[in-house]
């Protein structure tokens, strides 16, 4: 039977502080493709694995702008071009009256873009993920903290990476089959 290619090397830690310290050291050691798992959000962890920016805010902003323009132009087209109705002698193009719908559509489009953009960028829903091949990874939703170095990292080398992870004093180290 052909050995399955490795997805990465995973180290298990007991405390969030250990995980953040380990992630920082791995990042400083030059590992770029690393990730960390914990049962709850940890302040500073994202920065520690070198995570800089996510693009969900940008997607949300674009969604909001598109929504605002849609709302305004739709009303302009309805009230001033397609079916003009004289309301209280006000001009057909009465911008104050257009603002509430413009605002609502801005929020609606921004909200939908945020959800869909988040799903598109993080790849969810994801029916299969290799990290679950490690039985101990079940503890990641209880009280253990995991750091993984992906085999796609240019610096990845099964021996050197294992030695490096050993020096971080983890509770266990596992190879993650893909």
């Amino acid at each position: 039977m052909k050995p399955t290619p490795l997805y990465g090397m995973m180290a298990e830690f007991d405390t969030p502080t250990d995980l953040v310290a380990a992630a920082e050291r791995a990042h400083h050691a030059g590992y770029q493709k690393i990730d960390a798992y914990s049962p709850f959000p940890i302040e500073g962890l994202a920065e520690a694995i070198g995570f800089q920016k996510n693009r969900v805010p940008l997607v949300t902003l674009i969604g909001g702008i598109v929504g605002g323009l849609t709302g305004y132009l739709m009303q302009y087209w309805i009230s001033a071009s397609s079916y003009p109705v004289n309301v209280g002698g006000k001009p057909y193009h009465s911008w104050p009256a257009f603002i509430p719908v413009t605002f609502e559509l801005t929020i609606l489009f921004a909200g939908i873009s945020a959800v869909l953009g988040m799903l598109a960028l993080n790849g969810l829903p994801m029916p299969y993920h290799p990290v679950f091949n490690v039985p101990r990874f079940a503890f990641a939703s209880k009280d253990r903290f995991f750091l993984i170095v992906f085999s796609s990292d240019p610096q990845y080398n099964s021996k050197a990476t294992r030695d490096f992870l050993e020096r971080l004093n983890p509770r266990s180290i596992s190879e993650v089959p893909s």
Binding site: I42, E43, L45, P57, G88, P96, A97, I99
Partner: protein
């Protein structure tokens, strides 16, 4: 670093606050002398400027009290780090009660309803005033209600301060349940009293005009003023120990989010009022806006739309901007100036059809501000900068991920 290992002296405000305190007092007194001298020469202009200055600085004071009560209900590190700053601003309430007295001397100059009815030439207004001065807008009623508002605010401030001081003693019992018990009803009381105060003190300048959202508009302005002021003070404190150790980007981020929220709610209320009155277009309502959009006041209105809403809103959308106290503080300063412009735009057009900003608008605002700041820094120095037995104090004292 835990609470038990702290030296009380390490928790105090840095010496620089004493310097600012003295300079504020000097500036305040110099301008107060000019203002008082001006009051004898140009009393009308003085009282208008005084009302503007009073409402502006009252906003920082009451807004701080409200944010402090919100913090007592929600908890969180963002609030612990500015809790004592908000508290010191809130404890300027006795000063604000004292500073209310001069307004009583200017009632007929400020409010048309406080003048003798015979002196009013407009018959329509005269008959309207005949009714409302009997029921609500009488000088007696005004004074009694003002005393009640100021008493309620001072009582809330007194209780919150007293328990906060008690909580600083080692081994004292946790006062958090008491804070919560007062803050919930306190916020409701604050909303009602500040609405009534806004109607009495500002809206009644034009007694034939009413807007139901007016009180909330003043209220949200106060919250914005207070959060901007807290950001300015935390910037000054963060140059020195101990605040330089405590203030984290995540707390600044939260303060920036509050600013964004208040800017948006202010815009939402302002626009709602405008939209409803614009859509109705009734003579007794629209006149308020006609005055404020013509004769040069329209430019001020545009200034407000741009720099009280649009520009701050866009800047505050940026995450990195909100986390950087060095940049956020300049927006906070700008918004504090815009709060003053907003109140100017609300108050002054009642007296002048064309754009007019008098000497008193500046001089009295600086005089009251100087004295207020002196009092504020005095308060700030009287208690430690951190309430170390606050249940959330560990968020400030300990590294984030423990």
């Amino acid at each position: 670093m835990s609470a038990t290992h702290m030296n009380p002296a390490d928790l105090m405000a840095p010496p620089v606050t004493k310097t600012i305190q003295q300079r504020s007092l000097m500036i305040g007194l110099v301008f107060a002398v000019i203002a008082v001298a001006g009051a004898f020469v140009r009393p009308d202009e003085f009282f208008r400027g005084y009302l503007l200055a009073y409402m502006d600085w009252l906003g920082v004071t009451l807004g701080s009290m409200a944010i402090l009560m919100i913090r007592h209900l929600t908890g969180g590190g963002w609030g612990v780090v500015i809790r004592r700053v908000l508290g010191a601003a809130m404890r300027c309430l006795p000063l604000m009660a004292f500073l209310f007295v001069p307004i009583l001397f200017g009632l007929p100059r400020l409010y048309v309803w406080a003048r003798p009815l015979d002196s009013i030439t407009d018959k329509h207004l005269q008959s309207h005033l005949q009714e409302i001065t009997k029921s609500y807008l009488s000088v007696h009623g005004f004074v009694i209600r003002a005393a009640i508002y100021l008493a309620i605010w001072n009582l809330l401030s007194f209780l919150l301060t007293k328990w906060s001081r008690e909580q600083d003693q080692p081994g004292a019992r946790d006062n958090s349940p008491r804070f919560k018990a007062v803050s919930g009803p306190g916020l409701i009381l604050y909303a009602f009293t500040v609405s009534f105060a806004a109607i009495d003190w500002v809206m009644s300048i034009d007694p034939s005009w009413i807007s139901t959202i007016y009180g909330l508009l003043i209220l949200i302005g106060q919250l914005l003023s207070a959060m901007c002021f807290a950001v300015v003070v935390e910037r000054i404190l963060a140059r020195y120990k101990p605040m330089s150790v405590w203030l984290r980007p995540s707390f600044v981020h939260d303060h920036g989010k509050w600013m964004l929220t208040f800017v948006m709610v202010w815009a939402y209320f302002s626009f709602s009022q405008w939209l409803i009155i614009w859509a109705g277009n009734l003579p007794e309502e629209i006149t308020w806006y006609i005055r404020r959009l013509h004769g040069g006041w329209g430019g001020v209105g545009l200034l407000l739309a741009l720099f009280h809403f649009a520009v701050p809103f866009i800047m505050l959308l940026s995450r990195s901007f909100k986390r950087d106290i060095g940049r956020l503080v300049w927006l906070a300063v700008g918004l504090l100036v815009m709060r003053w412009v907003d109140l100017l735009w609300i108050i002054e057009p009642n007296y002048s059809q064309t754009l007019s900003v008098t000497w008193a608008d500046f001089v009295v605002s600086i005089a009251v501000g100087g004295i207020w700041l002196w009092f504020f820094f005095r308060n700030l120095n009287s208690l430690p900068l951190l309430s170390i037995y606050d249940p959330d104090a560990h968020e400030v004292l300990e590294p984030a991920h423990e």
